[in-house]
């Protein structure tokens, strides 16, 4: 097999893995024609978060933060073990974020001498490439002390979050807007054409309903900046920032595979540098840096003299003009220590503020089945899969609502969507178990098992129509899904301003029954700020954040005579 064929295989591999990743995100939804085997207890048909489970960085960091390797994360060894032998093949052949950066870097590049000269310069190894290792050490140290921040920059989490909460919803809005505009022109042929085009788009890309995510501007903007930077420096993200790339670089320490350079045949045309993705020094005269190489094989493929060759057990002879390749990562001990200490210091710094568990936001309603806040923060990688799969668009990325530690973790906003009482999809897709998977019984409860609660509803009597304005309503009670209903009412006759007698039903909440699903808040006809609202108190996941005094059934209660 010629090297050109192998390079084409690499290109194919990048496309295939990108499509798989993208397809899995598209499938992270409740499809309209989806027919599960058991309609009563709906299970998604595919393991849609499997791509995230192959991520060695997610595996290592959650291992550090929780002490265990959760469920499917063992799959990450499929990536990690070959890396030990080959190097960062994942970055060049598999990683969808890497491929995206690759394509954005290379597409419609300016050809010519000036551009080549620029690339020869920018594709040489630079000290800025060390940054990713320091980011990695910082985050791993923080993870070890219980704060999992890796998801902010882990490429697979980042890509899943960006596509799921920013890119696809934006496409949806644009497609609907365009369709409406064309239909508004009043030309039937155009309208039919636009509808067909929209239908095809919807079939391929769009979920059943348009999702609107809270505060996606920063997520979308961050993603856009990453893509734009590629135009300045090829694969800047992969070279300088990506902590997964850094981790795989570290695991390339004892590879058996590598680049062999033949100094004798080289004519110093620099074609290898122009084509290089990782800025790892493929040219004769530079140190070839194994931990930086993505194994894209471009250098070997473009070399007109066949001076470069990737092979097992490469000969790396040192000459004056051609220093040997190295498998060592270029980091300074001092900076490694600094970043580790920084990561350790980060945890108390983030937690000494008042946001974490001390004075948490009352509207920080976590998805059903979420672990206690400290365990949650030790697991959540901010991949946004729960937000994407939620059929009611109820889950949204936070900004600072959960403190600086919880950026982009999920929060339920009942005004936009409530928690559907029998739905357990968010727990099904969570790759790290931050949201535990609930059975239907554990979600809704029965005589012996209490339901999973995410909060408690309260009534704002100053805004409630029957309480404040002598107007009948009781929609909250109508929507309440528990049985018996947690919203109950007293029928009262009140006098309105014109001295008419009006019969109204005034709602109240039974906190023993309320699960905090937010259906009442969602449905409340007071459209701007609902007259009934949910706060997190009473949530099953917290021992501290409780409203009611718990009573136990003791056969002989102390202090009471039989």
């Amino acid at each position: 097999m010629s090297i050109k064929t192998v390079r084409n295989l690499r290109r194919l591999s990048q496309i295939v893995f990108f499509i798989i990743f993208f397809w899995l995100i598209l499938k992270t939804t409740f499809e309209v024609h989806f027919t599960p085997a058991n309609a009563a207890e709906i299970q998604l048909p595919y393991p849609v978060s499997i791509a995230l489970e192959f991520d060695p960085l997610v595996a290592l960091s959650t291992l550090l933060s929780t002490g265990t390797l959760f469920k499917g994360l063992l799959w990450s060894l499929v990536i990690l073990i070959p890396t030990i032998f080959l190097g960062r093949f994942f970055c060049g052949w598999v990683c969808p974020m890497g491929s995206l950066n690759h394509w954005v870097s290379e597409i419609r590049g300016v050809k010519g001498e000036a551009s080549n000269a620029r690339k020869i310069k920018s594709n040489r190894y630079g000290k800025y490439q060390r940054i990713k290792y320091y980011i990695l050490f910082l985050f791993l140290a923080a993870a070890f002390f219980g704060s999992l921040q890796i998801g902010l920059l882990d490429p697979l989490s980042l890509l899943a979050r960006s596509i799921g909460t920013a890119v696809l919803p934006t496409i949806h809005t644009a497609a609907l807007g365009l369709l409406g505009w064309v239909k508004g022109l009043g030309l039937p042929i155009l309208a039919t054409g636009a509808q067909s085009a929209y239908d095809v788009t919807a079939l391929l890309l769009l979920p059943y309903r348009q999702a609107h995510f809270h505060g996606i501007l920063i997520i979308g903007g961050f993603f856009l900046v990453i893509l734009i930077l590629n135009r300045l420096i090829t694969r800047f993200w992969c070279r300088a920032i990506c902590p997964l790339g850094a981790m795989l670089g570290l695991f390339s320490r004892w590879t058996l595979f590598g680049l062999q350079k033949d100094e004798a045949t080289c004519n110093h045309c620099n074609q290898c540098l122009i084509a290089c993705q990782g800025a790892d020094g493929p040219d004769i005269g530079a140190v070839w840096r194994q931990p930086e190489c993505h194994l894209c094989l471009n250098c070997q493929a473009v070399c007109p003299q066949s001076s470069l060759k990737f092979k097992f057990y490469p000969q790396q002879t040192v000459t004056a003009a051609n220093p040997a390749g190295t498998q060592k990562v270029d980091v300074s001990r001092r900076m490694v220590m600094t970043s580790l200490v920084g990561g350790i210091a980060l945890v108390p710094l983030l937690r000494s503020g008042d946001a974490f568990e001390i004075n948490s936001d009352p509207r920080l309603i976590r998805p059903p089945g979420s672990l206690s806040e400290s365990e949650f923060i030790a697991r959540c990688i901010r991949c946004g899969q729960c937000m994407r799969v939620c059929p009611n668009n109820a889950l949204h990325p936070t900004l600072l609502q959960a403190g600086a530690e919880g950026i982009w973790s999920p929060v339920l906003i009942p005004r936009i969507g409530y928690c559907e009482s029998t739905c357990t999809l968010c727990g099904q897709v969570c790759p790290t178990g931050a949201i535990a998977e609930l059975t239907l019984t554990r979600k809704v409860g029965n005589e012996t098992v209490p339901p999973n609660r995410i909060g408690t509803a309260f009534i704002d009597r100053g805004r409630c129509l029957p309480w404040a304005m002598a107007i009948p309503c009781i929609v909250c009670e109508e929507w309440c899904p528990t049985s018996p209903k947690a919203v109950y009412f007293a029928e009262e006759t009140v006098i309105d301003r014109k001295k008419n007698e009006v019969k109204v039903k005034r709602p109240s909440i039974d906190p023993e029954l309320c699960t905090g699903c937010g259906a009442c808040e969602y449905a409340c006809p007071v459209t701007d700020r609902a007259a009934i609202y949910v706060t997190s108190v009473g949530e099953s996941r917290s021992k501290r954040n409780q409203l009611l005094l718990k009573t136990r059934n003791l056969s002989h209660p102390p202090g009471r005579t039989a």
Partner: protein, 317 residues
Amino acid sequence: MDRRDFIKTTGKTLAFAAATTAAGVLFHNRRVAGVEPIVLKTSDFTVPTEKSLPQIALAKNTDHIAALHASLDVVGGIKHFIRKGDRVTIKPNIGWDRTPEQGADTNPVLVGEMARLCLAAGAALVIVTDIPCNEPRRCFLRSGIRAEAEKAGAKVILPLEEDYIRTVMGGQMLDVWPVLKYFVQTDKLINMPIAKHHSLSSFTGSMKNFYGILGGRRSQLHQKIDQSIVELATFSKPTLTVVDCTRVMLRGGPTGGSLDDVAIENSVICATDMVAADSRASEFLSLTGEQVGHIALADRSGLGKLDYRSVGYKEIT
């Protein structure tokens, strides 16, 4: 600068300034917002009545399909309502994410059989749809209606934002409202509610079922629930009404959830008079038509007969 250049340069500047001014004047509008286009629709899908036919029948049978057939035959049989080539929309109650046993949504077996009957009578297309309160995908799936209707050959459509049309409904409260197009752009409309308890209107059956054709923030209609139900029923005149009384939720409506609140009645009502149908069905909840605000109001406004015996009520057990 010579004269020619001066005229040319100044002329260009003046023309640009004039064009800008003209554009401003042209688009100037003192009104705050434009008027949205309104689509006017009639929604009367009734077929001419035959005097000899009873307008309401109730059949009781543990075989629910047999009960449907029996009561339908009394009011004229399917051929009386459906012509060859008709497009038919069936409007069950698929309001909540509940299973059939919980009695919050119309019995899926009845919906499937109704679709089958329409197709057998020559209907070109049978659409089954509703605008649920809970998440539509879950409601259509867990109510069992999607599966049964598709099995029968009907087209099951979930409501989409772009499928609503602004509709003049001509009521006091219901003036202009978004309505899902399948309920107004069709040849025949079959209303298939389930009879159950409702906390505000005390009973929900066929007339209240038309809340489900509305988009928008329909929960605001609760402020004048009886009036709005009657206005809706005045606007939307179905070809046929089939009230599912096979499982009747007695308490905790309209969502329910507990099987203890559901009474097994194994009854199906077919009617061409919605008021009579609701009046009869409300008796399963130990109510009478007079006690249910919207039924009494509908009777007073001449929409139908609260006294269902006066329109030829027949009972088959």
